[in-house]
C-alpha cells in the first residue's frame, strides 16, 4: 500500500502500544484521548481537505452537468447520447480510474478530482435535464400565450421549476462524492481517506483512527445533506405544497 504513496503526506501514525494509554494498548474502538491529541494534526486537516475535495468536485460537476443539460435541452436529439456518456463514466470502477490516471496527471489532487467530477455527472446531468423538461405543458403554453420571450420563459419559469430536481440531484451527488472521496487516498494522502487507509494499514487495524476518520466522513455527508435540504426548503417554499 505504501508503494502507492499512502504514507507520503502526513506520515503513518502508529499507535505506541508500549507506552500509550490502556485504551490504545488494547486497541479499543474509541479512545477519546487519541482523538483529542490528534484532532489538530490529523483529523481536522483531513476533514478540511475532504470538504475541499467535495466542493470542487460537486461545483465543477454541477457546472459541466448544467452545460450538458442545457445543450440537451436545446437540442433534444443530443439528450440520449449525452446521457449514455455520463452513464458510461459511472460504470468505471473508482479505484481503477484513480490509479489509471496517475501516469497522466501524477500524484496530485487533480488525479482525485477527475473521477469524482465524472461520477457527479451521472446524477446531476439527468436531474437537471429532467427538471428543465418536467415543466407542465400548460404552464409553458400560458407563458408563451402571455408574451414571455424564449429567454424569459427559461429564466422565470423553466429554471425555477427545475430547482427541486436540481437540488435533489445535488444532495445525492454530494453524499456520493463524500463517500467516494475517501477511496481517493489510494492515490495521495488527502482527505479523510488518509487516516482511514492508515488505520486499516496497521498490522492490527487501528480501530480508533478508523472510527474517527470514518465517522467524520459519515457526519460530513449527513451535515451536507441536511444543509442542502434546508436550502431546498428555503428556495422552493412552493414545492412542499403539492
Amino acid at each position: 500500500m505504501s508503494a502507492l504513496g499512502l504514507a507520503d503526506g502526513g506520515g503513518p501514525v502508529i499507535p505506541d502500544f508500549g507506552q500509550g494509554s490502556a485504551c490504545l494498548r488494547h486497541n479499543h474502538w474509541f479512545c477519546k484521548s487519541w482523538v483529542a491529541q490528534h484532532w489538530s494534526d490529523i483529523l481536522q486537516p483531513a476533514l478540511v481537505q475532504h470538504i475541499y475535495l467535495t466542493v470542487i468536485a460537486v461545483g465543477v460537476g454541477f457546472g459541466l452537468s448544467f452545460g450538458l443539460a442545457l445543450i440537451a435541452f436545446r437540442f433534444r436529439f443530443l439528450g440520449p447520447p449525452l446521457g449514455a456518456a455520463t452513464d458510461f463514466l459511472y460504470t468505471l470502477p473508482s479505484i481503477a480510474l484513480f490509479i489509471l490516471l496517475v501516469p497522466v496527471t501524477g500524484l496530485t489532487v487533480t488525479t482525485i478530482e477527475i473521477p469524482l467530477v465524472a461520477y457527479t455527472l451521472f446524477v446531476l446531468y439527468p436531474n437537471i435535464l429532467a427538471g428543465l423538461r418536467g415543466v407542465p405543458p400548460e404552464v409553458l403554453e400560458s407563458a408563451r400565450g402571455m408574451g414571455l420571450t424564449r429567454a424569459q420563459i427559461f429564466w422565470r419559469v423553466e429554471l425555477p421549476l427545475a430547482v427541486p430536481a436540481i437540488l435533489a440531484g445535488l444532495r445525492v451527488a454530494t453524499v456520493a462524492t463524500i463517500s467516494i472521496a475517501t477511496v481517493a487516498a489510494i492515490v495521495i494522502y488527502y482527505g479523510l481517506g488518509g487516516p482511514v487507509f492508515d488505520a486499516i494499514g496497521q498490522p492490527d487495524i487501528f480501530r480508533t483512527e478508523l472510527l474517527a476518520a470514518g465517522g467524520l466522513a459519515i457526519l460530513l455527508a449527513l451535515t451536507a445533506d441536511a444543509l442542502l435540504a434546508l436550502l431546498q426548503r428555503a428556495l422552493t417554499p412552493w414545492s412542499r405544497l403539492r
Binding site: P136, E138, V139, L140, E141, S142, A143, R144, G145, M146, G147, L148, T149, Q152, R156, V157, P160, L161, V163, T236, P237, W238, S239, L241, R242
Partner: protein, 315 residues
Amino acid sequence: MPREAAELVFDEATKVYPGREGAAVDHLSLTVPAGEICVLVGPSGGGKTTALKLVNRLIPLTSGDIRIDGTSILQQDVVQLRRSIGYVIQQVGLFPHMTVEANIGTVPRLYRRPRAWIKARSAELLELVGLDPSYAKQFPAQLSGGERQRVGLARALAANPPLMLMDEPFGAIDPIVRARLQDEFLRLQQELRKTVVFVTHDIDEAIKVGDRIAILRKGGRLAQYDTPQQILAHPVDEFVADFVGRDRALKALTLTTVGELELSPATEDGLPRLPAETSLRDALAILVAERKDALLVVGSDGSPLGVVTREDLLR
C-alpha cells in the same frame, strides 16, 4: 394601457397542418364586434381551439388574415401581440412557483410596472374575480380548481387587454362551480365589456355565455354565425340543428327571464312564487312539477310583480 375593447376580424383565416389531410381551420371569416363575447363551438376536430390560437399566433396562419382593430396580427411583433391579448386556458397554467400576486403580475412586470402598482392591481383584480385579497400570498397548489381558474382570469385581465381569448376556461370544473363561474364571468363582462373569444364544446355553455355563437363543423368550416336566439330558432342546416339538439326550443327558453315578460295582474291566491330572474325554462319546469297553470313573479324584495301563465311561457 391598451384600449378597452377591440374589434376582431377573421378574414379567410386558414390553417393547414403539413402532412395532414384537409384543413384544421378552413377559410374562416367572421367579425366579433368590440365588447362582445363570441363563442366558438362545435364537435371535436372542428378547429375551435386552433382558430383561437391563430389569433395570438401560438399557431401560425397558413393563409388569410386576422385583424384586431384593423391591424393585421401579422404586422405586429408576436411578443407584443400576445402581451396585449388576455389568454385563459382550461388547465389554467398558473406558475406553481409564484404566489397568486406574482402570477397576476406576470404581464404588468413585462411592461415594467412598479412593484406597488402590481400589488394594488392584484388586490383589485382578486376582488373583481371574487377572491379575498388574502389569497395574494398563496401558491397555486393551495387553491381549489375553481379558485385557480379565477386567478387565471385575473392574470389574463392584469394588463387590461382589449381582447381576451378563453379556451374552455371552465371545462375542467365541476358543474355547480362552473355555473357559478359562468354567472360571475357574465357579471364581470357587464362591467368590463372586453371583446372575448370563448371556446367550448358545450352548446349549453355557448348559449348561456355567447352574444354570438360560431358553430364550426369538422374540417374547421363555419356552419353558422349568429346570436343564440337566431341559432336556436333558425338553424341553417341539419348539422346545426343536430348540434344544438332536439330540445332547442327548450334551450331558447333559457335566454329569457320571467321578469322580461309582460305579466298579468295578480288575481289568484296560492300560486307558486318565483323570482323575476328565473329563466322561462325553469319557470316551465316548476309549472310542470307543481301541476299549475300560472306562477306568481316576485321582485327581489318579495313583492308580487304579476302572474305568468303557461300560455305566456310557451308563446
